[in-house]
Symmetry: none
Subunit: 148 residues, 2 copies
DNA sequence: TCGTTATTGCATTTAATATGTAATAACGAT
DNA sequence: ATCGTTATTACATATTAAATGCAATAACGA
């Protein structure tokens, strides 16, 4: 894995600190790795790149999950039983994860927002109240036009 | 788990044979279990019901996967890293017919089928073709009434 | 530079998923 | 109905991802 330009590293350092976390080596390594990735990577895929550099599996595992909790990464499952991690854009303005539906490509992992999607239910349907109240996250899995 | 009426058992037997497989006890047990389930069950959930009756974990595991390969079951992952299995309708004509959305409780993991849910999109919306064509899986995440 | 404490490194655990193989049972043929 | 073939099972065991406890370490504010 190539190393990132110093200014990008510094930007990552900043972001980590802004999230209230310490900018440690393994965090920077994990984020650098995902910055260079073209698609979401699983823990295993991240380790293929970081283990040769001496990083610890369990630590990187924790780092990935921590950074996902801290909203620097998105943790997603494309339906194949692997947690994949993807760098989130720096300023997710007004983009609360559960405001609108998301389309996830099971081929490449690309996520697309579907703000115009709505759900229709017969009044008679027996469904959880949270669904009636729209207090739900909607995920649609399929193939994007490129992967179709 | 109650036992199924004899005629339903016989129908399952038939279906297994039609798929070119032997109608064995564990296959009937697994299918009976899923016939009575209101939602897709994981291997573990199936075993909660079948282990007390003396069925073997690994065998039922293989049975579930075999029957999924044989298109008697659908094997799906609702995003929580568990393979769940759901009985498919007998004659999958048109195939989209028994494709339906699933609701998963983020509290307890309970899964509920949402056959009556449909998606609505403005014609103008820019979305992947697979979504227009309904070649997608829909997952709704929220809290069930108990966990709300 | 130092002290606090978040974080790591390493060992270990858990849980789901998966498979090898001898014994068993389903089912077509007799 | 019985028998022989062979798919299938039961049991043991392997693999992999995911997770955690804890002492050692290093980040960062003072």
């Amino acid at each position: 894995m190539d190393t990132l330009p110093a200014d990008q590293i510094e930007a990552l350092r900043e972001r980590i600190r802004r999230a209230g976390k310490r900018a440690t080596g393994s965090r920077l390594a994990a984020l650098s790795c995902l910055t260079q990735a073209a698609s979401p990577l699983s823990h295993g895929e991240v380790m293929e790149r970081l283990e040769p550099q001496g990083w610890d599996r369990a630590s990187i595992f924790r780092v990935l999950n921590d950074l996902a909790d801290a909203k620097l990464l998105r943790r997603l499952d494309l339906g194949d039983h692997l947690w994949r991690f993807e760098l989130l854009a720096d300023e997710p303005q007004g983009h609360a994860e559960d405001e609108h539906a998301h389309f996830m490509c099971v081929g490449c992992g690309e996520v697309q927002c579907l703000p115009e999607l709505s759900l229709v239910l017969p009044k008679s349907a027996q469904v959880p109240r949270s669904l009636r109240e729209d207090a739900v996250q909607v995920r649609v899995l399929g193939r994007c036009d490129t992967c179709a």
